[in-house]
């Protein structure tokens, strides 16, 4: 047994370490058992009494992945192209083209640096062109004389800040929504990964994460100009509608019939998709399905010239009704492109209920500067409409009855109290510096998660049982020693996962199951060698010595390559795959240790100390 002191110490050390890291997980398990037995009220009271204790245990216990717990995982990407467009103080045709081309290119080579692509594209079109022309900004120190490199670095800084600001805003929104243990992390340069355990309403979360929360107060189109523009547009599409375009418009024929009885199937491309009204600030009424088609028609450059100057058309948030076919109808309203006030001036927002109808709405309070501007704007426009626009959609467009002082305003026409609550949340957290896009998301319901946990546990148990039985049948008492090593191995793997704060996912459990099968490999190699040694007539002790020594190089070579695969999987994989890679690597390390060191200790103890024979079958 001499010389084994260090090995025993090492094993004991790792065992204690695993125990230390796994203790909170065990505590959590028993705590859950305890709470399960309580009634709902008792449980709530217990939770309130033990807030700190429960939180500490939760933090230190083995993390389960969302695929096991149930919840929502969202990968968001900050739209740098939109940000660049917004930072531009002066925009022309050429700029738009470069931006579009750069978007297209960076789409092809993903997570490439958009700003670099944009600058390269800009310079490739005209080597002498100056970016400063488009981004002149006194406050940021970009003047007419700034070089392209300076502008590029300014854009880079802004983009970097936009991502970190977006992250803190999203964290704030998630906190306000109230998710237990959310995780929000940056991935790469432009992406944000949000993990929300136990979410049961993914639709609301999507809206909450994505909403840029740009609140704007805008003046609206002059009614007379609106009607004239409408007539010009109808005439334009009357004239340019030829036979081929009629065929084109046929696809929306049915909707059109429901929309307007008179003009139905007139062959006028605009009237086919929109019912013209021209009342006050309203341009027309459009069915949900046709909004894209109408936008397309309105964006035609020739048409843009026919529209009132400085006016753009936006849809209303709530439908005004539905057709018999169940299609929702929205108003198209003319609003000024110039923004009078933004959400920055909002200091407080809360959900309110309309006095008589009890319909939910959001009431907002402005700061003093905002209140002054609001008073000036309303005072100068009594009798006219102002639009309250959130993320490009008109929520309400009240008629100004008198000058409004005190800086109060409401957002009305909301669907539900939840919607009101979510608007309050996004307004309070602030507007996102640039639009974000959901590039990947997954939701796992609690029952799917529970099924996965059960499947995982069953696999581990049956796998372990089968392998353990086989080892005993095949290698007899040596097999029992290998089985002991196997069980210790699983304790170590879990200890490593808990110690490194890794997350256990379903593929991770698969990794453990696979490790159970492969872990005995090292012992098999050794035992086979021992058998070979014994067949040459050596004593048991000599055979064991020889077996362990000779099997070492094969064990090492065979394991290290699989370990490399684990490292590579971990570096390039995402989410669940990383979970698999982690357990695979942990499994290799601990199985090498248990097979080479731990099983040897037992073997020596039995053979040398107790003078017993180990049967290798």
């Amino acid at each position: 047994m001499q010389g084994n002191g260090f090995k025993i110490f090492l094993t004991a050390f790792f065992l204690v370490l695993s125990g230390y890291y796994l203790y909170p997980s065990a505590q959590k398990y028993f705590l859950n058992q305890e709470m399960e037995a309580m009634t709902a009220e008792e449980r709530q009271a217990f939770k309130n009494d033990n807030v700190v204790r429960i939180r500490t245990i939760d933090e230190k216990a083995l993390n389960l992945g969302l695929d096991l717990l149930g919840g929502m995982h969202v990968a968001l990407e900050v739209r740098v192209d939109a940000l660049v467009r917004e930072l531009a103080t002066d925009v022309d045709e050429a700029f738009e083209q470069v931006l579009a081309a750069a978007s297209e290119q960076s789409r092809a080579s993903t997570d490439g640096d958009f700003i670099q692509v944009f600058v390269d594209e800009f310079e490739s079109r005209d080597a002498d062109a100056r970016l400063s022309r488009y981004f002149r900004n006194e406050a940021a120190g970009i003047t007419r004389r700034s070089t392209n490199a300076e502008v590029a670095s300014y854009l880079q800084t802004e983009a970097g800040e936009a991502v970190s600001r977006a992250m803190s805003i999203i964290r704030d929104r998630v906190d306000r929504y109230g998710v237990t243990e959310p995780s929000i992390q940056q991935q790469g340069s432009r992406r944000i990964i949000v993990e929300l355990p136990g979410i049961d309403d993914p639709e609301r979360i999507r809206g909450l994460l994505r909403g840029t929360a740009r609140l704007e107060f805008r003046l609206m189109v002059d009614p007379a100009e609106n009607v004239r523009a409408l007539q010009r547009l109808i005439d334009f599409y009357e004239e340019t509608t030829d036979s081929t375009e009629v065929a084109d418009a046929d696809t929306t024929f049915d909707v059109n019939e429901l929309l307007s009885s008179e003009e139905g199937g007139s062959g006028n491309r605009l009237l086919d998709v929109m019912q013209p009204t021209g009342q006050n600030v309203e341009f027309g009424i459009v069915a949900e399905e046709d909004t894209a088609a109408v936008n397309q028609l309105l964006s035609d450059p020739a048409v843009q010239d026919l529209l009132p100057r400085g006016i753009k058309y936006m849809y209303t948030s709530a439908p005004i009704g539905t057709t018999t076919d169940g299609l929702e109808l929205y108003r198209l309203l003319g609003v000024r492109t110039e923004i009078e006030l933004t959400g920055d001036v909002i200091t407080d927002a809360r959900v309110d209920f309309e006095q008589f109808t009890n319909v939910p709405e959001v009431s907002m309070t402005m700061n003093s500067e905002g209140a002054r501007t609001w008073a000036r704007v309303t005072g100068a426009n009594v009798g006219k409409n102002v639009a309250i626009v959130l993320d490009g959609v008109v929520y309400s467009w009240p008629n100004v009855l008198q000058r409004i002082t005190g800086g109060r305003s409401n957002i009305t026409n909301l669907d539900s109290q939840e919607e009101a609550q979510d608007i309050v949340t996004v307004l309070k957290s602030g507007a996102l510096p640039a639009p974000v896009e959901i590039v990947e998301e997954s939701t796992v319901g609690p029952s799917l998660g529970a099924a996965s946990i059960k499947a995982g546990l069953n696999s581990v148990m049956f796998g372990l049982l089968l392998v353990a039985l086989f080892m005993i049948v095949y290698y007899r008492s040596a097999g029992m020693i290998a089985d002991l090593a196997l069980i210790l191995n699983i304790v170590f793997i879990l200890g490593i996962l808990a110690g490194f704060q890794a997350t256990l996912t379903l593929p991770g459990i698969a990794g453990i199951v696979l490790t159970i099968g492969m872990a005995v490999d090292a012992n098999v190699l050794i035992f086979e060698r021992v058998r070979e040694e014994m067949s040459t007539g050596k004593t048991l002790k000599a055979s064991i010595d020889g077996g362990y020594a000779k099997a070492l190089s094969a064990i090492f070579d065979a394991n290290i390559t699989t370990f490399f695969v684990g490292v590579i999987l971990y570096s390039f994989g995402v989410g669940p795959i990383q979970g698999f890679a982690v357990t695979l690597m942990a499994g290799i390390l601990s199985s090498m240790f248990t097979a080479i060191v731990f099983s040897r200790i037992i073997m020596d103890y039995v053979v040398i100390e107790r003078k017993l024979a180990v049967n290798f079958g």
Binding site: A455, L506, A510, G517, M518, E528, V565, I568, G573
Partner: protein
């Protein structure tokens, strides 16, 4: 208990037979990959998936036709687990919108079915490109690292033999995925977990191969007077018992995973079952014979 102790099979002498079997399998795999192709998961091409549970068992074909009307394009509909459905739809509308369309269409056409969405997975094409790139990098990276490691630890012929065996294993496993997708009652799509499975197969197949190589290396030093062919044969035979025992235990656990691991891991476990069988075969019939052939050629030209 002992199996195949002191076996003395003529592996090296009959290696031509092995080449023919491997050649046929590889050819069949390549043909199927060319004609039948692979089923690619939405991780690598973008799209949305919805796992739908319902109070009563829904008929896949009927739901497919209902959803084809509702979504305007035919979605993939499959059974998922024992009593759920997996719907996979393309398009770029909002996930919420697609989900609501699916649920209301099923509610309308199958009254009383009470469909609920149990899980969703959505990947934008751009993100899918990233995942694809990551997968390709990990495959190439693994192969490179393994090749370099074998080169450092063994002579170059072993490196070639090991890599040949790896290509052999992955090609045939891919081939089997290609041949059987659509015909078996579980998903055989290539997604991230399958890539992880393939890389594990690579690691595993190598594990087996390395053990044999290690023995060849050892015996080359001991039995200097024997023919190289006999040394290789003896190495394979003397490690055969170990090869079969570990393949056996690993096969046990992946079969357990296949049966008990649930719907998510079924394709993964299947890949591993196939990979372990092929990997064990290749370490005996591909990797070592390749080393032998290279060695023979070297001796012949000398």
């Amino acid at each position: 208990m002992r199996i195949l102790e002191n076996s003395n099979f003529q592996f090296t002498a009959s290696r031509r037979r092995g080449y023919i079997i491997s050649a046929i399998l590889i050819l069949a795999s390549l043909v199927s990959l060319g004609i039948h192709g692979l089923e690619v998961g939405i991780d690598f091409r973008g799209g949305r998936e919805f796992v739908i549970d319902s109070a009563e068992l829904l008929d896949v074909t009927a739901v497919r036709s209902t959803l084809t009307d509702a979504l305007g394009a035919e979605p993939e509909v499959k059974s998922y687990g024992e009593d759920m459905l997996l719907v996979r739809a393309v398009g770029d509308e909002d996930v919420t919108v697609v989900q609501n369309t699916i649920i209301s269409a099923i509610e309308r056409d199958f009254p009383g079915s009470e469909p609920t969405v149990e899980g969703t997975y959505a990947v934008s094409p751009r993100f899918a490109d990233d995942l694809k790139r990551g997968a390709i990098y990990s495959i190439l990276g693994s192969l490179l690292v393994i090749f370099v490691y074998i080169l450092l630890r063994f002579e170059w012929r072993f490196g070639v033999g090991a890599v040949a065996a790896l290509f052999h294993d992955v090609t045939i496993t891919l081939g089997i995925f290609s041949i059987f997708h659509g015909f078996v009652p579980f998903s055989l799509q290539i997604d991230q977990t399958i890539i992880a499975a393939f890389l594990t197969i690579v690691g595993y197949s190598l594990n087996d191969t390395v053990v044999v190589f290690d023995r060849i290396r050892e015996y080359t030093g001991i039995f200097k007077s024997e023919k190289y062919e006999d040394i290789v044969n003896k190495s394979i035979n003397n490690t055969l018992s170990r090869t079969l025992v570990t393949s056996g235990t690993t096969l046990f656990v992946v079969t357990v995973l296949f049966i008990f691991g649930g719907e998510v891991l079924r394709g993964f476990a299947f890949a591993l079952i196939v990979g372990i069988l092929i990997g064990t075969y290749s370490s005996v019939f591909v990797a070592s014979p390749v080393v032998l052939e290279l060695r023979k050629r070297a001796v012949a030209t000398r």
